[in-house]
Symmetry: D3
Subunit: 297 residues, 6 copies
Amino acid sequence: MGQNNSLSNRILYQVKGKISIITLNQPDKLNALGGDDYTYLAKLMEKSNKDPSTVITLINSSGRYFSSGADYKFIKKYHELINDKKNDEKEIERQNDRFWFNDFIPRNSYLTDCFINHGKIIVACLNGPAIGLSAAMVALSDIIYSKNDDTFLLYPFTKIGLVTEGSTSYSLLLRLGLSRTNEALLLSKPIYNKDLVSCGFVNKCYNMDDYNKKDQVEVNKSTEKFNELILNELSDSVKFLNGDSIKDIKKLINSNIRLYYNSANSKEVIQGYKKWLTGVPQRQFINLANKNIKHKL
Amino acid sequence: MGQNNSLSNRILYQVKGKISIITLNQPDKLNALGGDDYTYLAKLMEKSNKDPSTVITLINSSGRYFSSGADYKFIKKYHELINDKKNDEKEIERQNDRFWFNDFIPRNSYLTDCFINHGKIIVACLNGPAIGLSAAMVALSDIIYSKNDDTFLLYPFTKIGLVTEGSTSYSLLLRLGLSRTNEALLLSKPIYNKDLVSCGFVNKCYNMDDYNKKDQVEVNKSTEKFNELILNELSDSVKFLNGDSIKDIKKLINSNIRLYYNSANSKEVIQGYKKWLTGVPQRQFINLANKNIKHKL
Amino acid sequence: MGQNNSLSNRILYQVKGKISIITLNQPDKLNALGGDDYTYLAKLMEKSNKDPSTVITLINSSGRYFSSGADYKFIKKYHELINDKKNDEKEIERQNDRFWFNDFIPRNSYLTDCFINHGKIIVACLNGPAIGLSAAMVALSDIIYSKNDDTFLLYPFTKIGLVTEGSTSYSLLLRLGLSRTNEALLLSKPIYNKDLVSCGFVNKCYNMDDYNKKDQVEVNKSTEKFNELILNELSDSVKFLNGDSIKDIKKLINSNIRLYYNSANSKEVIQGYKKWLTGVPQRQFINLANKNIKHKL
Amino acid sequence: MGQNNSLSNRILYQVKGKISIITLNQPDKLNALGGDDYTYLAKLMEKSNKDPSTVITLINSSGRYFSSGADYKFIKKYHELINDKKNDEKEIERQNDRFWFNDFIPRNSYLTDCFINHGKIIVACLNGPAIGLSAAMVALSDIIYSKNDDTFLLYPFTKIGLVTEGSTSYSLLLRLGLSRTNEALLLSKPIYNKDLVSCGFVNKCYNMDDYNKKDQVEVNKSTEKFNELILNELSDSVKFLNGDSIKDIKKLINSNIRLYYNSANSKEVIQGYKKWLTGVPQRQFINLANKNIKHKL
Amino acid sequence: MGQNNSLSNRILYQVKGKISIITLNQPDKLNALGGDDYTYLAKLMEKSNKDPSTVITLINSSGRYFSSGADYKFIKKYHELINDKKNDEKEIERQNDRFWFNDFIPRNSYLTDCFINHGKIIVACLNGPAIGLSAAMVALSDIIYSKNDDTFLLYPFTKIGLVTEGSTSYSLLLRLGLSRTNEALLLSKPIYNKDLVSCGFVNKCYNMDDYNKKDQVEVNKSTEKFNELILNELSDSVKFLNGDSIKDIKKLINSNIRLYYNSANSKEVIQGYKKWLTGVPQRQFINLANKNIKHKL
Amino acid sequence: MGQNNSLSNRILYQVKGKISIITLNQPDKLNALGGDDYTYLAKLMEKSNKDPSTVITLINSSGRYFSSGADYKFIKKYHELINDKKNDEKEIERQNDRFWFNDFIPRNSYLTDCFINHGKIIVACLNGPAIGLSAAMVALSDIIYSKNDDTFLLYPFTKIGLVTEGSTSYSLLLRLGLSRTNEALLLSKPIYNKDLVSCGFVNKCYNMDDYNKKDQVEVNKSTEKFNELILNELSDSVKFLNGDSIKDIKKLINSNIRLYYNSANSKEVIQGYKKWLTGVPQRQFINLANKNIKHKL
């Protein structure tokens, strides 16, 4: 992995039988995703949606983390921007606005829409923690499996000075219940695997322990086994199922909730954009970065 | 039980104190229900609803299964129909249409409505597995008790090429949460007693083990004890409760959800009818029957 | 505690850092609340809501019970009224009507509204059981912590001949699921701490056991420790969180549910008022009082 | 017209360019529709829905009336049934039940669903009055044109002792406003063309007067001209429109209302069935028939 | 009329055939209603609702105005209160709070609920203008007739510094459309009879002109004729209608809107109460009173 | 007007008393708006929203048209893009995608959100026709006035191969009723002033005729008078109104509809983006441009 750092190598797309597989493939970066990665993920979701041969869209990852969330490179960009234009505050403001307006709004609203309005069964395989917008996509998946108790979901929006993303203001309410949603979203607390299993958010935990968690190779391998195991089980499950029935029943289920998902999506992207305009989240990201963010978030 | 195979013997109706009791009474058939049985069940629900002396409608069963779902005799009918009219495909199509149009639509929509709009507390006693439309009625009950861990619910609609029945596209979402609902409805996976208890779908499991599960007599007896136990507990509970309060509070609770239940009902019956028109579910039923369906479903 | 029995002593209000603290302070009465207490509680909720310095409204209590619900003095009043006016039934009816019309309706609808439309994180600390309208307020809190397994919630409306209060016809559905809600509201069954934890209603139980439960002093002390512990943890949590984000995200979450909360509120207060007009709940309260109500409810 | 009285002659189906045309073709019967006619109409709606070549489903009629509603032959049947079985009341009840259960429920719910969930633009051409279920289908059409002021809609459900049909409990509310809906549905008052135009229910009235209204030939001809005129105008309109855009926008519009339509459908068919079970509407129909119903309704 | 100024003389209640008639009977006061009048009106609505002999609740009035809204005596009370307690601002605040809390909240929420949840056809006869809470009750009636073009509705909440009352934040939206609702509620503009007719809010205007509008006797008489005319027409209409059908269809229609009505009710009463607490509306009323309010509102 | 073609000159912003005024100021271009103009309009909406001194946001225009919709320059850009990159289809596709993704999605969703969630009274003054996204903003205004019968609204989305924009899939349904909405949106028919007035979409038409419609100077002047007249009337209206009441009542009204507005917004922008990706609307625009689009649309 890695030399060829093109998008199609950072996120893999395969078809096996009735299953489209989307794989986050940057284990060394803990599968942090840049803006382009998220947009590419959305495009792959659409590609899978249109493929007449498959019934399931399986999203899995690699290594230790499912995805540590948004990549921080963009903050650097912003920082450099500030330094470059020191004397022209208006220009900084203008460029900041353009950056978030033209990038943040379409990316988040499109990615979220691709999950909300997906016609196939979305299965997410949580090999490890998921954070931020990536964790929001997990919460928009239909069926969720986890590898072991190292898994958690983290939505640190109040820590960064943002609002919820990826329709989590509705999806978590629907799936975690009100008390846990409030703790997760208002207090930015992680939700650990045990709770995810007990409240039915995670359908099944495979309890595949990595005995030497620091051994990257061991972890990578066990994640691969975890992915393989699920793929095999799903292939078996889906063999005797009727694809049209699946599509129609998913529509029936979603007709109860789609209005709320869509409404959350449009409110969140615009409110999020306005937060970025204030400059607060940018500063917060930089502060956190300076304090070894990996452990704090 | 059994010689007299009239409807009123296949499903019993009694009143004890403030409780109307409806009992599925064909343990030898695993309480599989034919079309007439389902309609008769609906009529008994209405009878109970109108009885001014009772406050609870208790639905229990007999033997090993709560109900193995729809009886397969109707498939035979269809099969014979095909053989009879070999040379007249239009006539087969016409008769098939009439069969499902005039039987399936009213039965399913009426039965579902009788549960959705019932004014009393519906208590379901799960002595064992429930499948298909019968399991859908369990999911429309207000309070649910189970006998032991042999219990499961199974909604095999995607396996048969149908869509959801009995408003399960909403009722399961409401009661199992989204992840479990997707597994149950999209992948046709059974939901086992342990999960039903942990997610609060089952209010209480009585853990009445049948040590020799193959001994039909033992199983029948323990189911009777299970039914008796619940009846006694409920009789005690309800003794000091105000019937008008119960009726009014149930209306208040249901006002939050009835729109969704009713909408699901009408969509499901028409979409289900269209599936039957294609002939796919019929063929699937026959296939499964040939492969010893009891174990596969 | 105690000598000075003014409202501001019966319910305390403090601000510590970013947290407003409302404390029920009548441990000897098991924190039973009279009509004025409930209205005062609502006023304190508003006071906290308007305080620009805080982000969390923490509600805790004292002693053994969080709150044993509505105080019974008002029943006495009613009883005496009946005795005083023995010969003038119309006057009794008129005064009864006025009493419930002018006191019950505004108190319940205002208190409920103050919780539903509160802008900060409401955290409830369940040191022990909560009953009736007090328990309804717990169910309208955002995050809930419990002290130990002695905790339960009890909504005995069908026992008294009332209807649900405090929008519980929606709030419990949202938080306990349908099966548990039906048992709690239709059968007036207590919901014990273990179930509250397992269904996610309680975010965390602190398992602070009182080894000698009859020792009032020990219990009082351990409740104080429980309150202190939570206050400290929350103070830590909230230190690094962005207040505007919290406010905005709470609005986003609530936009999914507020319509139902508000609708329940107006229906419940009017239906409740009509129940009181019949005289049934009054008689029921007196009956229960005569039978040592503390143990029966 | 006429000699050949097969279904396909009673209701015509043609395709002209991008328009499917369904024509009620029994002017001598004022286009009263029997049970089979309604079901056949539903099938033609589905046929049109699946036709990849068309974008509009145009429903027009012939002669003086769009449709005088349900044919009364079925009442005769019921009457004769009563006479035949004079001595066996239970059998009468049983047969009555079966008749309405197996015919009324599926016909009404299927027909209504075919209109609610139709993917193309439904255009209804009101050449004259429409009554009952036929008038309900008009209210489920997307665009409505009228010939002249002789047109009216009549929903005489409270006159016959029924409940609303064809989701009119929602569709009229949506299209006529609350005051007019109440007069139309609760008081069984006709809504005349002028009001239909002024409230926007009818998109356009063509004011094609029949100067000698008793001359059946003249009326028939002017209705044909009316139909032709609309067909030509629509053909022109639709020539430059994008079919995919139409389909997608119709979905977007309907997503706001479909939940209510579907819910009304399921409630109405079951409640209607229960009304028929009482025997009241049957007697009322016979009474009205004896009093020259044409003028009274 | 007049000498006997008891409640039962200020608002009359009669039953004629299938119609309960509630008549506002203080023409000399332009049927301004005090707090007790509104509560009494609500009680009469309930009385009518429970009367098994009637199907319609007809609300009419007397003289020139349907109702000029809330009586201003209560402002005087408040004014005097201020003068009496000049030196004790806290006491003024406390009494003001109690006054609006215990009177305003229950009256408005109960009256509104009695209209929203009424089971019969509510017919309002607008003999002339209706203002404020009285006009809100007109907007909650099912069918509305007007006498002539002198009629208007006025909701001057933004003029007085209040919020909407009687669920008008939803009822007007439903019945007047968004543009007219905004002008009526946000700009406090009257809606005149012509617009009420053209938008279908008023079902029919009887155009009974009073040629000498200053002649109180003539106006009183023509209002009586107007009331009589409607009563006769309704008696005729309702003669052949099925009461159960009416009740059931009204429920079906209302199931689409009741959630919004109820939610508006609870929000409006609490927000209105908070406005009164500020003292702003009181001052505004006194200002307006000093400027000959009759012409300005 | 004119020489200085900066954004702030193309759309003017003024404050007069309690009214913020936004003026489209390119009469020579019929106030066609480019992408930057729409974004700037949104920013001005926000500026007005935050201004503590005003209560009304008045949007007016200049000359003959309110706004002829989106400027066609962007099509030229696209056309040139195609010509420039003739040999690199992938690059064309990529640039096309980026163009619509980064510009179309944020602009439309932000602009729509700024109208939906605006806290003040939005008044639109229709001096003449409005088309497309501009017409969508009119439909999101609270109160609408028109100059004369030359006014119309046109939503030509099915003509161009797009989907609805600016939440018109809900806003028109709410304001025009279903029949007119279907004609306007599905058949791309203009809605003329007379219909806009009769259905209450336009609150008032000022009937200010331009006798010599070709005389640009006369038209410009009469539009200025129209704007002035409304400004004066509004200034008078608003003088005695309570700003807090207005804000609070607007929130109450909008709470009934905001969910639908927001949901429409997110669905429309993503579906619209996908339409642009196909290249169909671009080709259609060019075709129409070649055929003298001004008259055809």
